[in-house]
Amino acid sequence: MRKSFVAQNPSVLVFLICLSLFTVVVTVLAEGFGVGALSTSFIKTLGKTLCLCLVAIAMDLIWGYCGILSLGHFAFFGLGGYMVGMWLMYARTEIIVEGALAQGDIPPTPQEIIDGIGNQIFGVVGSSDFPVVWTFADSLMSQLLLVLVVPGLLALVFGWLAFRSRVTGVYLSILTQAMTLALALYLFQNDSGLRGNNGLSGLQNLPGVTAPQSAVSLWFFWASALALGAGYILSAWVVSGKFGSVIRGIRDNEARVRFLGYPVESFKLMLFTLTAMIAAVAGALYYPQAGIINPAEIAPIASIYLAVWVAIGGRGRLYGAVLGAAFVSLVSTWFTGGQAPDINLGFYTVQWVDWWQVILGLSFVLVTLFAPKGIGGLFDLLKREDKA
């Protein structure tokens, strides 16, 4: 008899149980719901961390399972954030502008309202007209759709060009870096239509919602946990069957897979696009919690960090990616957030904000050299002891 999907992949069930428990515990401890032991800003940090775990899963799919070291997946993450940010900013500004204009004696015309919104949003880059890319910004449904469509299309076109020419290995990594750099530089321009280096801000305020941030932060935390759970199941399903066999085959010996008759390029393209869309969903949930998105978010270094998380967590296993992203990003927040006390050595003061980067870089090198399976490899040790 065929075993069910969960029976074949016990780690999925374990992961979902852990994630649910974590969600419940955090909710009960949260300021907006229960005891209040966890501050709203910490809830946001946790929610954001869940989003980072989701994009790390996407990275693990494309790199750990299929061997494509994409160093551009944060571009898709950022684009997802921009897409949802446009609606948040538009809708909230619309409410403010309508409120302000309603003070006047004559009711404002629709054009006046739109001009007002344009002035509010684009005044900072010396403009007041809506660029074409904002065409659908007034509709939440359209923008949510664009969260998937825009990064998906970019990945499809980029991947088609790259994979068709059989660009692989380090050349592909460089190409993806170039892509995310080009996108960041474009968005930095004031006339890119997305407010240049100001980016989109005030995203933490949901239009028309009067609930306090302590509650809103929990909603997003739940949504992030839900997305992570769904993304985990989807990814586990994708890598579990024959498709998983084929993409791992592509990772280990691409030419051999081709001689088995599999169109390797279309498999890569499909996976590249799928992971771009997963990354975009993660970004769309992350930035409303961060409150602001600007082009610096998709600088090349961000995508490199993503690869570092997955490497440290252990690539080629989904929970490894989750552990790596959660561990490294939380520790990183702690060190760079100023909570870590500086160490005064008398002749030199170790400031963690600077030194954390060095530690991270070193641990990346050490993990790559001595523990290629990363943190996830520890679970193999446990399993082996069970057997013994």
């Binding site: 010996n253 008759g261 169109p263 498999f267």
Partner: protein, 249 residues
């Protein structure tokens, strides 16, 4: 002319790498169920010949025609050629070492190859039985759930042959199957190839004359990128040109 009894027809094919003529006006034919050994000294163009047939290398000139409809393999890419029914076994065993014998065979098993078909693929009872039969055939039934990387060299060779059979190709190209095998393993391999050739065309590239003798089939001798002699093993080994190339060195 004789489309009924020609599965693969290579005619007038040449290819050069940096001025070196690896294949020089080569012509070669094989029928739908025939076992053929291709021998020749190092650099005779044996591997390049396989590369051309499987789409890895594009020839500078010549034709490669396939099947009843005589379609040109030169217009297809590697994956399409494999789907058309050409299977290839490499010199070094290339199985997917991190996956189980079962997964390796299932991946090779003939089935739709598009990403969507693969993503939604669910192994039927028939698929699973066939995989077990194949494992039985190549003597790996005990090792179905072992990771391929743990197998011995000879077992990997058989797994790869099993994967080729799973593809159900009409033409099997086998590059030095006996390299690095013990005498018993060689015997098993010979049996597998002779058996396979009953229902399909099999081309075996080999160095080892003893192994070729055991295959007991028509032999094509390659030298400097073209056919030097063709016929039974005794016939070609009596050929003065062949003696020159092989023994004159």
């Amino acid at each position: 002319m004789s489309q009924m009894n020609t599965l693969l027809e290579v005619s007038g094919v040449s290819v050069s790498f940096d001025g070196f003529r690896a294949i020089n006006n080569l012509s070669f034919q094989i029928g739908p169920s025939e076992l053929r050994a291709v021998i020749g000294p190092n650099g005779a163009g044996k591997t390049t010949f396989m590369d051309i047939v499987t789409g890895k290398t594009r020839p500078d000139e010549g034709r490669v025609l396939w099947g009843e409809k005589s379609i040109s393999l030169l217009a297809l890419n590697e994956a399409q050629i494999a789907q058309a029914g050409v299977g290839r076994k490499f010199q070094k065993p290339t199985v997917f070492e991190e996956q189980s014998v079962r997964e390796n065979l299932m991946m090779a098993r003939r089935a739709p190859r598009s990403w969507w078909a693969v993503l939604t693929f669910r192994a039927s009872a028939q698929d699973r039985t066939r995989v077990e039969e194949l494992a039985q055939e190549v003597g790996l039934q005990e090792h179905l759930d072992r990771v391929a990387g743990e197998l011995s060299h000879g077992q990997k060779q058989w797994l790869e042959i099993g994967m080729l059979l799973a593809q159900e190709p009409r033409l099997l190209l086998v590059d030095e199957p006996a390299a690095g095998m013990t005498p018993q393993e060689r015997e098993h391999t010979t049996d597998l190839l002779v058996e396979a050739a009953k229902t399909r065309a099999v081309v075996v590239v080999e160095h080892d004359m003893e192994f070729v003798r055991r295959l007991n089939c028509k032999v094509t001798v390659l030298h400097e990128g073209s056919v030097l002699a063709e016929g039974g093993l005794d016939h070609v080994t009596a050929n003065p040109d062949v003696i020159d190339v092989y023994l004159g060195r």
